[in-house]
């Protein structure tokens, strides 16, 4: 009996020692390397009083307080960090802005139409910072990548060309109406089961309107849904540079992707040139997978559904909300849904990984991603 107790205590001691040893390895090693830059950034804030975007980004990056959600949303932030010669590591940001609120993240990622509204406004769920916060805009910095699009699989597009055109025609009509009447569109979205308050929905609609109607350089867009060649190219180039894939086969494929592998403009061109009458629809019951929860980010589809635009072209459309870890690329690829909304960079990564997806319209013409900071933190 005594022997066993001795053994037991011995085993416990040994395990505690090994763990503390291992723990020591993990925590001690990075500490000195990270302390040095932090001290220097403190010194910098005292002397130079940074004000330009570069100064702010460098200060935040040196302190290790740049945040992003990761999971394919991080490439623009990585590109910006690289542009100013910083390491591309960032903190994993939760889907709320609490980390920004308590300063554990001083330069936080935010979508203009969602998180930025929550940070600035003081309606229900907002943090009410108002004008005491400022942003670094990816479009101004030249590292913008295109976001929300409409995509399907190459096989589906080839087998159902008329259905694709009809769906695009009605969806673009919905987006046009929504962009002209954002307030009404926001109410429609709210009624379709919203995850956020009515006030925030209204704010979101007004911001999404800007993304749909203005391009990366701030000019007005003539055709909603247009796949601008230069913007697509910039997105693809940045994607090739910053999407890091462990799988060598996928990485090789990524480096050889061209625009023709990821988008086809003919469906949209023919849809918009048509009179809105589509005969011989190959499939009348179709579904579209959203990238996120039902909200004004996707108001065009909800408007098209509510106003009966889909019915007019003979389609019975189901809108499938996303959220969390639902991967819209996988859902479309395996045929669970027919169409999807995703960011162009995600589509590029999916095609590199072996999917055969095809973008058929580009709804957002500029990047909605900004890095938000409190002015007080970078005086």
């Amino acid at each position: 009996m005594k022997k066993n107790t001795g053994k037991l205590i011995g085993l416990l001691c040994v395990s505690v020692l090994t763990v503390s040893g291992l723990g020591g390895c993990g925590s001690k090693a990075p500490a000195p390397t990270e302390k040095a830059p932090e001290a220097s950034s403190d010194a910098k804030t005292e002397q130079a009083a940074p004000k330009t975007n570069e100064d702010i980004l460098v200060a935040a990056a040196q302190a290790g307080k740049v945040g992003n959600w990761g999971l394919g949303n991080e490439y623009e932030v990585k590109a910006l960090l690289t542009k100013y010669g910083q390491d591309t590591s960032y903190l994993s940001q939760a889907f709320d802005m609490d980390g920004f609120d308590d300063d554990s993240i001083t330069l936080a990622s935010a979508m203009t139409y969602n998180e930025l509204g929550l940070v600035k406004n003081d309606y229900d769920g907002g943090y009410g910072y108002g004008d005491s916060v400022n942003v670094i805009d990816m479009n101004d910095e030249g590292v913008a990548m295109l976001e929300d699009n409409i995509f399907t699989t190459k096989a589906f597009a080839e087998a159902n060309p008329n259905t694709v055109k009809a769906f695009l025609y009605a969806s673009i009509k919905g987006w046009e109406y929504a962009a002209q009447n954002p307030d009404e569109a926001s109410k429609i979205c709210f009624n379709y089961g919203s995850s956020v308050s009515e006030d925030h929905q209204k704010y979101m609609a007004s911001e999404v309107k800007k993304l749909v109607e203005t391009d990366m350089s701030g000019n007005a867009v003539s055709d909603i849904g247009n796949m601008d060649e230069a913007a697509m190219k910039q997105t693809l180039d940045l994607a090739k540079q910053y999407i890091k894939l462990d799988d060598s086969v996928a990485a090789d494929k990524l480096s050889t992707l061209t625009l023709d592998d990821i988008r086809n403009t003919s469906y949209l061109t023919e849809a918009l040139a048509s009179d809105g009458k589509f005969d011989n629809l190959e499939k009348t019951d179709v579904s579209i997978q959203l990238k996120w929860l039902p909200q004004a980010q996707f108001m065009g589809y909800y408007v098209a559904l509510e106003k009966g635009y889909y019915d007019e072209v003979g389609l019975n459309v189901t809108i499938v909300p996303g959220g969390g870890d639902i991967s819209e690329t996988t859902a479309v690829n395996n045929g669970t849904v027919d169409f999807g909304v995703t960011w162009v960079s995600n589509l590029i990564a999916a095609n590199a990984g072996g999917m055969d997806l095809l973008e058929v319209a580009q709804i957002y013409q500029r990047s909605g991603l900004v890095l938000v900071y409190k002015n007080d933190n970078f005086k």
Binding site: N4, G26, G64, L245, S248, T329, N334, A350
Partner: protein, 279 residues
Amino acid sequence: MSRKLKRKKSLWYRIHQNEKVQSAETVLLPLLFGFLFMIMWQTQKLHTLLHTDTFTLPLPSRILTIIADNSDKIMLNVNATVIVTLAGLVAGSLIGYGIAVLAALFPKWGSCGLKIIAAFNAIPIVALAPVMTNWTKDVSNHADIRSMVAKIMVVTIVCIANMSINAYRGLTELKPFSEDLMCSYAASKRVTLIKLRLPNSVPYIFTALKVAVPSSVISALVSEYFAEYIVGVGRQIRENIVLAQYSSAWAYIVVACLIGIIMYAVLMIAQSFMLKKRA
């Protein structure tokens, strides 16, 4: 005579009775099954059987290639996950055992307290992890350290419940009359604890660890999803799946399995050493 004949007839039976053959069988049969399974997987028979494709379920050869190509990066992530798992496991088991000893010494409120602890077992890790991440924000200025603390705390809580309930049984469910015997010796509570209860609880500790080891690996993997600092096998699985990189995701899934299997094997070896003389 008749006995001899019977023996000759059942040669197969006699081979089976041979201890060496038996122990070889326990190793060989699972190995053979695993080998067949891998062949079916590699030759895509498994894909036909499960109605899936090589995109969702990549071939073993491709998965192994990815593991070989990225060994440095994978080791970095494995280190992070293993440190969290072991630290949480040890901390949780020690605390859990301590609680069990207290509960055994003071049975009146002890058993009641254990029921509350058992309720902790029901908290989903996905609910616990973000709470811990928020809670540990002031622990350190370095995101990697405070994330590690948050992850360890999740694993710890999962292990505490497990260990305390099992150890309590080991400390209280004694051999009949042994407690009465100690009473008749007028042994103090302390002596009863050291001489009777603690040794009696050793097999129960291993019962607890057998459950705690796999669940601590899973807790570590899931808590990485919510951690601020991006590192760990679990996080890599999630990143790759969201980016539709199924081959890479599978590579990390295989690595996660290996971590669990190796830790379990180490536990089994430790158990056979510790419990050898008791049998």
